[in-house]
């Protein structure tokens, strides 16, 4: 016969409660300091952006910014470039990371190293390499504005690899890729169906974080865009900072809000529970 003892009620003494209270206090202190670190510059920038008119706070800097004929075209161009780079990056990284996880785990360090190269190679070196390789015949991708833009998107795709690979790889490690793949295979699915219906939807969060980072980098990227003579948001912002006083702050706040709005939209579209 087994005899089970009744559970002993746990009573916390004051001495035991004290460390818990202390750790909560320090958690709040750290949270407040971190929040101030981010919010004070943002608040200061916002405050500065409201001072365009003499002796009163207002949105004059924002009005001037939106009225600028170069603002929307450059921003739209950067958004399109970012979306294209994200799409291309997903197309390359997801199948690669999936295949490495499933069939070639020994190759992971090699792939990881390759995807880290954009961290090692400065943007200016990358853009000169691109110009040397693609700026001469037979490819001559720098011949027109549009072909240079293709080159720019390809460069942004490469820049996104470290963020995208890490996000996707973490997402894949968090699920039982092999069993899910085999389950889908046994039910008759081929590779395209498995990727589209099983892998991509279950990587939603990982893809979103990879996309967010790519978007954030691409939207304000200056060096490559400048050397490829592209009229994107990065060069526009740099130009504005040189020539205006209050508009750059207004633009920083707008860019911040638009980036988060775009990400919010993506999060809404790919919210959990939606079938892939």
């Amino acid at each position: 016969m087994t005899i089970s003892a009744p559970p002993i009620p746990v009573i916390e003494t004051e001495a035991e409660q004290a460390p818990a209270k202390r750790s909560r206090f320090w958690a709040w202190v750290i949270l407040i300091i971190t929040a101030l670190y981010f919010l004070v510059p943002l608040g200061a920038t916002f405050y500065w952006s409201l001072r365009a008119e003499a002796d009163k706070l207002g949105f004059e800097a924002y009005r001037r910014l939106f009225a600028d004929s170069n603002f929307w075209p450059s921003f739209t161009e950067s958004v399109i470039n970012a979306i294209a780079a994200i799409f291309l990056s997903l197309l390359i990284i997801v199948p690669t990371a999936y295949w490495v996880t499933l069939r070639l785990p020994k190759l992971r360090p090699v792939v990881e190293f390759i995807t880290l190269l954009p961290f090692v190679i400065p943007a200016v070196v990358l853009v000169f390499a691109l110009l040397r390789l693609y700026g001469r015949p037979p490819l001559l991708l720098t011949a027109t504005y549009d072909s240079s833009r293709v080159l720019l998107v390809c460069a942004y795709t490469a820049l996104s690899f470290p963020y995208m690979f890490r996000s996707v790889d973490n997402g894949l490690r968090a699920m039982d890729v092999r069993s899910l793949t085999e389950a889908a295979q046994s039910l008759g699915a081929g590779w395209p169906t498995i990727l589209r219906r099983v892998i991509f939807p279950n990587l939603r969060v990982a893809l979103l974080s990879g996309a967010l980072l790519t978007f954030a980098i691409v939207i304000g990227e200056l060096t490559i865009a400048l050397f490829l003579a592209q009229q994107t948001f990065g060069p526009y912002m740099a130009n504005l900072t040189r020539s205006k006083v209050y508009e750059p702050s207004a633009m920083a706040i707008v860019a911040f809000a638009l980036t988060w709005a775009a990400m919010g939209t993506i999060a809404l579209i790919t919210r959990p529970g939606k079938r892939g």
Binding site: M1, M175, D176, S179, L180, E182, A183, A184, Q185, S186, L187, G188, A189, G190, T193, R197, V198, P201, N202, R204, G273, R275, G276
Partner: protein
Amino acid sequence: MTGFLSLENVRKEFNGVVAVESFNLEVEPGEFVSFLGPSGCGKTTTLRMVAGFEPPTSGTIRLAGEDVTYAKANERNIGMVFQSYALFPNMTVADNIAFGLRVRKEEGAARGERVAELLDLIHLPDKAKAYPNELSGGQQQRVALARALAIRPQLLLLDEPLSALDAKIRDDLRAEIRRIQRQLNITTIYVTHDQEEALALSDRVVVMSKGQIEQVGEPFEIYNNPATGFVASFVGQLNRLPVTVVDPALGRVRVGRSEIRTTSLIESPAGAEVSLMMRPEEVTLDAEEENVLEGTVESVTFLGSIVRVQVAVDGGRLTADLFNERLLVLPVAGDATQLSFPSHACWVMV
């Protein structure tokens, strides 16, 4: 005659290491066959070769007369249930079950009917809209079973489907799997390392060790007439006592000062050192049977319906499993006792 599923001389090597060797098996339509063995014995590898996830190094696999040895997994029409459930987390229960039907482009209404039919079969009709993470382990495995059955597979493969579940749920689901298999009369291969599971579920059990088949037989036969020492020791509890052959013709062996008789065939000559085997449930704590040994109780373990008594005897240790009953008088460690067992209950192995 060739069976519904036929494996002929199947062999699998991984980087020169043999995982499965000389595997020959015929499975009849509607039969429930279990692959039983310890970890690393090759049972899952064999199952994966049948499923199409691993190509054999050599040999032939036929399903319904068709050579499927190197056919792709998604072209075999084989349903598979995994130990980890492998339900698609982004899909509801209904969508999981309908996945294979969607891939086959089955029409919407027919698909819905099939899903409802399977939800009834697994007794989860109200869980159609639930997501896998909202279900218990047992419920998830039922859904995985329904998903595998939805495509009306020719063959159902189950890879240790109950290993991740609690004991009570395991017992319930075990009965459920057998009920569904019988109801649908689907040919089934079941991989397990749990001998109780294999014996309870199967029409036939394939006992494997080190990549090879040790014995194929019905559960009763496997348990009562093990072909090898490995089968005898792996399936069920077993007493193994070192003895010396006295008279092989009369089935007499000696352990310490006592002589024991067995009705089983002794192939070793007189004087040979062999092992005497018997199941603990055949041994009683009295002198009523033909073979009697004196000993001292070492330990008494209460296991619910059974009381396991270990007794040190001359030359070794024997275990007796006694059925628990209210009037049973339990010995205590240190008691002198007598053990006995009938001559037909023991056999000799080299």
